[in-house]
């Protein structure tokens, strides 16, 4: 099993609160990703990073921000949570095993904004 951790696993919070979802990996991977997963399953890439001090927006527009100050740590922050942010957030990291990248996912954070 991959060594990638997300905390908290579940979070219920009121509108307007600032939240940070934590993601850490102990595999030394340079690439890390944040996905938002709909209740209907689809995975949407919202942020990614190729290494320290590198962050890019993904395919799905998101009001969240990310930072990458350390290789192993890739937190996601919402400055002011809204009910529309209610979703599952998955963090992943990847390495290049031979031919192509393999992504390793954390268990996810299920966020509910009231």
């Amino acid at each position: 099993e991959a060594d990638i951790y997300q905390t908290p696993r579940y979070l219920v919070i009121g509108t307007g609160k600032k939240i940070t979802l934590e993601c850490s990996q102990t595999m030394g991977h340079d690439k890390m990703y944040w996905y938002q997963q709909d209740p209907g399953m689809e995975l949407h890439l919202i942020h990614y990073s190729y290494g320290v001090n590198s962050t890019e927006k993904g395919d799905l527009s998101s009001e969240s921000t990310v930072s990458r100050i350390r290789t192993e740590h890739f937190p996601l922050t919402l400055e002011s949570a809204r009910p529309s942010h209610t979703s599952q957030y998955l963090c992943a990291s990847s390495d290049r095993t031979g031919y192509a990248d393999t992504q390793y996912f954390g268990p996810g954070t299920r966020l509910t904004v009231l």
Binding site: E42, L45, Y48, Y99, D101, G106, P107, G108
Partner: protein, 111 residues
Amino acid sequence: QQQVKQSPQSLIVQKGGISIINCAYENTAFDYFPWYQQFPGKGPALLIAIRPDVSEKKEGRFTISFNKSAKQFSLHIMDSQPGDSATYFCAVDFGNEKLTFGTGTRLTIIP
């Protein structure tokens, strides 16, 4: 935007039967096509992947078939078991160092 179309959205198969999930992509792909499996409460995990220098790859009960000219690939699960009940995602590497995932298939194996 590069797209990966996955079907069906949900699938119910009797125990012992064959489960088939299909994916199609547009544009040029980098030539790496993985499938991920996700159980409830867990993140997706790599199940099996194929490079297009072969048209088929088999690992145990799981087989990927690949048709490069049609830009289609599929996952076959032989002798499907209740433990295979999960959500399956195909993915395509379009060469931009990211994976583009399909929309997912929720597979249920009934006794």
